[in-house]
Symmetry: C2
Subunit: 211 residues, 2 copies
DNA sequence: AGTGCATGCAAGTATTTACATGCATGCATG
DNA sequence: CATGCATGCATGTAAATACTTGCATGCACT
């Protein structure tokens, strides 16, 4: 019923794109909440504001919608590595920045991540997609910490566990906020900062750090 | 078809209890994997090795099964507090012990926790049940750390974030292992210990701690 | 004016699913 | 032996669900 703005660069496809996007968006939202089975094609069509048949004109089957949605998780490593490459005043600033980058990546993909989590056992490939984000985040951070250790900027330790703890913290904060709606009683920026402090100094350590 | 061993203490109810338990166990397993909708009464009956009708002789409706399952999460605080009360050689030992206690509590309830996570948006009360475990774990640990700070065993800091980081680590490890089947490349006991070390000393700190 | 294309609407189909009913079986206990 | 009780089995039902088909509408572009 809606018609495309006259935009020659899009050809005649603007309308099609729009409905397709509306369907995908509605499906993403519903599947994240209710799971694949809970997101019926009827509900999707209602939320998208289109007729149910229209869904099947755009997607051969319901799983095709899911498969389309799942394409959005990939290529995360690059963004994470970018967030860790720049110049920072000190390691703490790097950590705070990395925490923010990672948390925002999670939030940007929250619906798809939820779908993967919920559907983990029904769609096996989904597992890899889901886990790839935190696993990559741990890996990238771990490598950076190792680098610091080799350069003498950090004492030798267990960078993998450290990275795991750091990433876990924001993974949990993310789940608490967007899946379970628990209030953690701490602002995100404050959490990034305090967690970075604790990761660096621990809770039992005098603050005697250089730089 | 099976008949109860002659056990007067159980009266004539042993048989009934047994099938009931078989149904609950099958439902727990399936719902944790496939979600509430994915666990059809037919599949439950097959896994339980009973006839589908038998399910409805024991439970009025399918949700009644779910409700029954959800009763198992409660009363966690007591167990967590017990695990933190005893005498320990040093704070690190206390942390390692607490980590183990918490992780085991998660593992013991893994199916129900997964169900809660998956069904979070469909069964609203479920959310509270699910979140209660990590939230309580953070709370109990946070209180203990505050106590240490007041007694001068730890410098003043941010015990809440510290507790959150610690609990998050094992929450993530738990999810990785039991939901996503990711191998973290570290044994659990080792993880408990290394995480405790890092929480206490950080990664940028000379080991000059009294305990 | 005419053609194509995306969509809406009404109706239908085959399957799945939660749940019901009636009947038969077999053990246990009085 | 008789009664009760838990279960199996066959069958049924009403709703939901993924997906189909046929037809009408209205905009866009030629």
């Amino acid at each position: 019923m809606e018609h495309p703005p006259i935009d020659p660069s899009l050809g005649g496809k603007a309308e099609e794109q729009e409905t397709r996007e509306k369907i995908l968006s509605a499906a993403r939202q519903l599947m994240a909440q209710k799971g694949y089975k809970g997101a019926t094609t009827r509900k999707i069509s209602e939320l998208a504001g289109v007729n149910e048949v229209t869904i099947f004109r755009h997607f051969k089957t319901k799983v095709a919608i899911l498969e389309e949605l799942l394409k959005d998780i990939l290529d995360v490593r690059q963004q994470l590595e970018q967030g860790i490459q720049g110049e920072y005043a000190d390691i703490k600033q790097l950590l705070v920045n990395y925490a923010r980058t990672y948390f925002n990546l999670l939030v940007d993909r929250k619906e798809i991540l939820m779908i993967c989590m919920i559907e983990a056992d029904n769609q096996p490939e989904v597992v890899k997609l889901f886990s790839s984000l935190p696993v990559t985040a741990v890996d990238v951070l771990c490598n950076k910490l190792k680098e610091f250790e080799e350069q003498g900027h950090l004492p030798k330790g267990d960078p993998c566990t450290a990275a795991l703890m750091f990433i876990s913290t924001f993974f949990y904060a993310f789940m608490a906020k967007y899946r379970v709606n628990v209030d953690l009683d701490i602002e995100e920026e404050k959490l990034f900062e305090n967690a970075s402090d604790i990761l660096l100094q621990g809770i039992n350590c005098k603050k005697t750090t250089k730089q």
